[in-house]
Amino acid sequence: MIPMREAIRQAMAEEMRRDPTIFLMGEEVALYDGAYKVSQGMLAEFGPDRIVDTPIAENGFTGLAVGAAMAGMRPIVEFMTFNFSLVAYDQVVNSAARIYQMSAGQYRLPIVFRGPNGHAENLASQHSTAVESLYAHFPGLKVVSPSTPYDAKGLLKTAIRDDNPVIFLESELMYGFKGEVPDEEYLIPFGKADIKRQGDDVVIVVWGKHVHTCLKAAESLKADGISAMVLDIRSIRPLDHDAIFAAVARTHRAVVVQEGFPFAGVAAEIITRIQESCFDLLDAPVLRVTNRDVPQPYATVLEKAVIITAERVVETVKLVMGR
């Protein structure tokens, strides 16, 4: 059993040993060992040319990664939190996501942008944003979000080998979360959902840290005689519609759980696709659970009212079940 931060570190270090063009860049990744100790010890192994501390200039170092990728390297950019990626949003969405297309394939952008996403505890308004909906919007980007150390390692190795820019969303709350990771090498392809819990009555579609919120909810729904499947999509773009549609075909009811704001979010997209393709299979409207539609407040009692909890998932599943 290893914690998530170690799984992420193993993925980066293994890939860096294999390919000398890979480097890790970001604030405090080298000498400080990473704000969340994800890159601990990597400076000693790879040296300052490959584990690179940057000044606080997100737009600048993200643009640097874009240029370095175009010229033949494979950067990994760590955002101390994805909130700070919004300072670099232009370089991610206007440059990284588009140069391959607007150059008609002459320049590739093999970059991984990774770091913690969404809320942790009492981080207040500007350090709690979940950004998947902001990035999944753009063709040219891939967006993935692991929920276990096993998935994190396998997906990150795939991300590093991908020739496209990949947004890799971690969670501060999960860096210490432990799980089994085999000694032998493995990769997890993008666009393959994973059934984290099998069930017959309703499918809960989810990714990232809230997979665990939903597993907890599914466990408590058992007491109500409701058998809930938890489908971890793992990658948001590309999206494994086949797995989602197969789950709906089995359960005829679905709930989508998405951290972040509801308006124009990933959950809305998934629900649209379900109704476009599975309308006749549904026994109830598809509902979603998201953060409340307000900026994140600081006080614990308010924060808990805003974020997704197992109780809210249970309530919504019951609505879908007509209970």
Partner: protein, 330 residues
Amino acid sequence: MLAPDPEQRVVDRDELARLYHQMYLIRRVEELAARAYTQRKILGFCHLYIGQESVAVGVAAACRSSDRWITGYREHGQAVAKGVSPRKMMAELYGKATGASNGLGGSMHIFDASVHFMGGYGIVGAQVPIATGVAWALKRLGTQDVAVCFFGDGATHQGAFFEGLCLAQLYKLPVVFIIENNFYAMGTSLERQSAVTDLYLRGAGVGMAHEQFDGFDVETVRERVGAALHHARSGVGPVLLEIVTYRYRGHSMSDPARYRKDGELEEKKKSDPLLITEQRLKDDFGVSDAEIEALRARADAEADDAAHFADSSPEPSVENLYDYTYVSPR
């Protein structure tokens, strides 16, 4: 002042004639682009380089062919100077399948990896940190090449410009940043955009070598940029150059440029890059009017050929619309 490149050859008659031809070719290509725009054969935004030709051609004359160029949206002249064929360039403006970016990029997004022309960017200043990253890779991959980044006076107020400069200087990267100061950011004159009108002084704040000079004479550009490239190539760090120039046309084809002062354009045209170099060819190298005429005729024919090629090329196929959204798995 940066020390000159000791290995740079003195410009001889043939070299200067070649530079004149290049500048004249760029002007003709731009004039034909303007005409095609009024005929609605070129659409969208179209930003012309007329008046600034000595900058791109002078920089190209100082560069190695393996040096990488990254620029903004006013890049037609730079593309031709870097070696993008006028045919491919013009076909891209026409949105044709034979264009440098297969018609996917258009006027503002010309890319040609075969000559290391790494694109025109439409977000002002975004190319500055990208150039820093190209230089990062050139250094880490062990090349002796330099990244050259072009942008206008308007870009020097963007955060991306400042951040790109900070990082390039911090990591001592082989990059030459070139402010082409043409005195207008769209319709906003220099003194209305900036409290500091000597834009090269921005380099001082990040500890970067910085220099300013007039860019109307292609030989001056070649020599001073040669010095900057020599500095960057030697590994000591980047350079910020402010090359003073002037654009004759509006910001884009839709801009009549009514914000200029009366007589300003006419005054600036007295130091036209083509005039200066033509005079020098005649006065100092004994080039005849007939020879000048022959250089122009050759460029006219090349520009006409490019326009004809673009006009007669096929449209891109809609079937290929999704080909370059993602790199396919290997």
